[in-house]
Amino acid sequence: MGRIRKLYSHKMTADPRLDLLFKEYYDRLVFFSWQITKDKQQSEDIAQDAFIAYWQQRNEIVSHPVAIKNFLYRSVKNASLNVVRHTRVVGQFQNSHPGTEPAEEYILEAIISAEIIAEVNLAIESLPPHLIKLTRLSFLEGKKNHEVAEELEMSVNTVKKQKQRVLELLKMSLHPELIILLVTYGTFFTRE
């Protein structure tokens, strides 16, 4: 028994799925902008504007995934630089901390960083669902085993076993540097 499914026709790609684009790129665009503006609210606004601009101009943009991704990153880059420039002018006027416009290489590296951390994030989120919650509580929020056990309504022993399982799963799919990241990241927030 075979199975065949239709993916798309060239006609259908002319109508891209904004919700899927948003889901895929919102966080990484915000993160990219944040690296330039260092302002959380600004970077969220800028990323949202990029999606709105894309939708308004979608008929002039080739409906190829990479072309769309380029448009979004380009919009966010320009808008973020505008914010920095504006802040700098205001800053000089008020004679307080003048902001500096980041070098081009820094901006390009920020794009790579955004892509990397988004992929890393995806890898961690692709753990089995019941283990993600445990991972978040144990490793990321640094909760003690008995706190996690209480929250997830399981025995301390089960928590221990599942933590072991998480590490095993991650070891299979992640580079050692990332495992260190996960494990030590948790200790940042460990509360005594």
């Binding site: 028994m1 075979g2 199975r3 065949i4 499914r5 239709k6 993916l7 798309y8 026709s9 060239h10 006609k11 799925r17 904004l18 919700d19 948003f22 919102y26 966080d27 990484r28 915000v30 993160f31 944040w34 959380k40 969220e44 990323a47 949202q48 999606f51 709105i52 939708w55 308004q56 990479v66 991704k69 380029n70 990153y73 380009r74 390009l108 590296e109 794009i111 790579i112 960083s113 955004a114 892509e115 990397i116 951390i117 988004a118 992929e119 890393v120 994030n121 890898a123 799919s173 992640l174 580079h175 540097e177 990332l178 260190i180 990241l181 030590t184 990241y185 940042f188």
Partner: protein, 401 residues
């Protein structure tokens, strides 16, 4: 306009390195990039430093996505339309999954019932067409033709040092009993018709599988410093016995493929825009028009058949290229036109189109090549938008209105 494609690629390579899932091809790309400059190596160290990853991971994704989407969808007026579509899509997806599971169980439990249903289906496709099979014609040096199928087995012909046998599995085997002089080497031609396939083991032990509509010319025995054969047209898969002193060379209509110890597939159908050589194992050198490239496994070289016979090299999934040899139609983002070309050759039918647009529909999936044509067409039809009619040995393809 400014674009960041290279940065996206680099992002993928570095994250692939971190996630431990780089393909050999990607690993090579990353290595090349790293060895290109000290600056690159410093950048790489910065991007993969634990401190940076920790800091980035802590900041990433701390967004209010729900509120953000509400604003974006409100300002673009997007929301209503997609909720509907995506729901319907999900229901269809679940329904087809259940359907597939159901059919699987059904098939397993009740073969007889299935063939009864298949019989009923024949009303719809008058004169259903059976799949291709072991069929070929062998033309000997003197011009004598031997028609091959599964019926003859054993010794076909014998002359001097050479015996040509047909194995129980159906393939041809050339067995050379001694040293031949290079003086008068005889050439044979093995040709499969549309709807035919055949395999042959040459005198040196190299094995070649011919897809439908393919012709291969080769010497009865190999002499001298190279083993040269010719793929006149069509598609073939090669498992070459490597010999350091006698390279194996396949001449194609537009170029040469030289084996450096190897498994590879060549597709050189008439009318195609390019000849494709796909490497599975080892190494091959592809040359055309005084240019040449050496492939690593997982790469494909396309020699364009037009005026400019340039060679393009791209990464590929080798499984796609040799699915035919393993008895499968495998469509990986394949356009309907190329799917129908393959079906046309295998079932020896003509294909006509009701409209041009339908040729560009894209499909993903696989089905055995040993089904009747109606089953293959049915499966394609189930995807929704297309409709087939089979009449007078011609499949007519149309968009469903």
């Amino acid at each position: 306009m400014e674009h960041f494609d290279d940065l996206f690629d680099l992002g993928r390579l570095v994250s692939g390195y971190l996630k431990n899932d780089l393909s050999p091809e990607e690993q090579l790309k990353l290595d090349n990039w790293l060895s290109a400059s000290a600056d690159n190596r410093t950048t790489f160290q910065r991007l993969t430093s634990e401190t940076k990853l920790k800091a980035d991971y802590g900041t990433f994704g701390e967004t209010d996505k729900q509120t953000a989407w509400e604003r974006v969808s409100a300002e673009t007026g997007y929301r209503k339309k997609t909720a509907h579509v995506s729901n319907r899509f999900r229901i269809t997806a679940v329904a087809s999954l259940i359907f597939i599971l159901f059919i699987g169980v059904f098939l397993y439990l009740n073969q007889a019932e299935l063939s009864r249903i298949a019989a009923g289906k024949q009303d719809r496709y008058k004169n259903d067409i059976r799949p291709g099979g072991n069929r070929a014609t062998l033309t000997l040096a003197g011009g004598k033709k031997i028609v091959l199928d599964n019926t003859n087995q054993g010794l076909l012909t014998e002359s001097g040092h050479l015996a040509i046998r047909q194995d129980a599995g159906g393939g041809l085997r050339y067995v050379s009993g001694g040293n031949s002089s290079a003086a008068d080497v005889a050439y044979n031609t093995l040709t499969t018709p549309n709807g035919g396939t055949f395999s042959i083991t040459l005198a040196d032990g190299s094995k070649i599988w011919l897809n439908a509509g393919t012709s291969l010319r080769f010497p009865e025995v190999f002499t001298g410093r190279e083993r040269k054969i010719e793929l006149l047209y069509g598609e073939a898969y090669f498992e070459v016995k490597h010999e350091e002193k006698a390279p194996f060379i396949v001449k194609t209509p537009n170029g040469l493929v030289e084996d450096l110890g190897t498994h590879f597939n060549i597709s050189a159908y008439r009318g195609a825009t390019a000849e494709r050589t796909t490497l599975l194992e080892g190494s091959v050198r592809v040359s055309a028009n005084r240019r040449n490239v050496t492939l690593v496994p997982g790469q494909e070289a396309a020699v364009s058949t037009g005026q400019d016979a340039g060679i393009r090299v791209a990464a590929c999934d080798p499984a796609d290229a040799v699915a035919w040899k393993n008895g499968l139609f495998l469509f990986n983002n394949a356009r309907l036109e190329s799917i129908m070309d393959e079906i046309g050759r295998w079932y020896n039918v003509r294909v006509s189109y009701g409209n041009e647009a339908v040729k560009n529909e894209v499909f993903l999936g696989s089905i055995s090549r040993f089904k009747n044509v109606s089953e293959v067409l049915d499966l394609l039809e189930k995807t929704g938008n297309i409709h087939f009619e089979l009449k007078d040995n011609t499949i007519r393809v149309q968009s469903k209105q």
